[in-house]
Symmetry: C2
Subunit: 322 residues, 2 copies
Amino acid sequence: MSDIADIVSREVPAINRYLESATETLNPMVQPVVRHVLLAGGKRLRPLLTILTARAMGYRGDDVYPLACSLEFLHSATLLHDDIVDGAKLRRGRESAHVRFGSTHTILAGDVLLALANRLVAEYDNPELTKLLSEALLQTATGEILEIAHLRDVDLPLSTYFSIITGKTAYLIQASCQCGAVLAGASPALIQAAADLGHHIGIAFQLVDDALDYTSPATVSGKPTGGDLKEGKVTLPLLLYLQGLPFEERRRLAEDFRQDQLSAEDIEYLRGNVVAGGHAERTREMAGEYLAKAQAALAKFPPSPEAELIGDVLAPMLARDK
Amino acid sequence: MSDIADIVSREVPAINRYLESATETLNPMVQPVVRHVLLAGGKRLRPLLTILTARAMGYRGDDVYPLACSLEFLHSATLLHDDIVDGAKLRRGRESAHVRFGSTHTILAGDVLLALANRLVAEYDNPELTKLLSEALLQTATGEILEIAHLRDVDLPLSTYFSIITGKTAYLIQASCQCGAVLAGASPALIQAAADLGHHIGIAFQLVDDALDYTSPATVSGKPTGGDLKEGKVTLPLLLYLQGLPFEERRRLAEDFRQDQLSAEDIEYLRGNVVAGGHAERTREMAGEYLAKAQAALAKFPPSPEAELIGDVLAPMLARDK
């Protein structure tokens, strides 16, 4: 564990310094919005994965930070837009950017960050990297659209649920790992291993998030407990719970949920039932299965301290409580 | 004129076919939003400039359409976001996308188009093109932000007004010309001439727009007459009018405008005064001066039928009534 602590304590401040210096190049009116979303204490998972993957594939250059941070900027841009789209009032326990700064500045600040991310990547003169970034934005926005199209859709097939979380979350994490491998000039097989690693981490990450939404008190997660239910988002814990209900009960609940007819008490009761039925826990177990797949992808990396570090990071990801 | 008609009648349908085929690759839920903004009858100025500039610089390849259309997609994405930002209800005489489809789908469709534009350009494996596109988005969003920061600011210096229109309009038109020259592998001097051409066309284009906002009836332009005044946008006709007012009258009007204290009748009266004072006409004259600068930049192009065509397009641009 001390190796992880070491690398996090070395790399995260370096990432944050780069994020800040790039933010300072932006129009002064955008900077407060950007700092609000960037500096609210994210885990920097995406840039860390880019850096560790590049290092694990033998890359020793100093110029990994702009690439790594471009993925964090892209992530931040999608957060800015998504909070407007979701009408979310809170982000990591603080008010969302659009609540603080208004939708206008927040939409435009998101666009500026998308442009900045693209520009940072363009500087590498490597079209593969540019394509990865464009594809990541396309997939992320498409995943969001799919999620919105299926709001309150309790008949959501599991395959569609996985398409949603692959798009809105996993693809960008996949691109983070893949970018590191491409920067390192890795072989196609290793680039694929990096992509698989990121994809499985991304799915696991979102599954844990979806479980936490049912179990974690707002004081820990910074988001309201049961927020997904309140917003009408149908995620795995609810889908698993509904699968186990008798037909008539399921039909009635489904109808009420679809019509947004549940009171705050109904929702809290439903949330309690989902948790009591073990469905949040089962969702976490499935996250564990995806982390095992991530480990299998990682096993294809050449042996290195950084590959070991990535492996060490996976278990705590599953155990996290926010 | 028949040469222009020829090329427009040949190239615009080809551009529209490519725009449609690229739109069909997008998620089905995004397509109606994209078609709404794309197919509302734009002039395709940006892709036409890319194609004509590339041809004028000797490029004979068939693969110019994705690049040309990436600039139209980028333009459409910024229109989608800007109409939300401006609260605009109309776009080219039809209801805006966010009014028809809601802000959520419109924000995300804009992000999808930004990603698509980047992906189309990434396929050229030419980092210069990618950088131009990123810079264009960055400048456009920054110009919008600057404009919003100066809403109702009647003390706006002319230099800031020109910074706003350079960012929000001219930079993307500049990039359209520059991309054509870069694709053609033109010399740095010719790439600069293309950039200058696009910059001056862009400024002229926005000046004509700002004049038309004061003079063109909604039935012709598809936008309400005096829309900028109603939205609190301070553009050149108003700035020129204010410069000519006696100090006390100017101070009073400025204060009322800043505080949004003008009634619909006051605004219509003000609009009439601006026009009667010749300030919309003077704005058009300034557009003519920028078109002369555009002609000077064009004169540096090697002689070609396409360069002549660009020249022929400039004069009607000034005379347009919508």
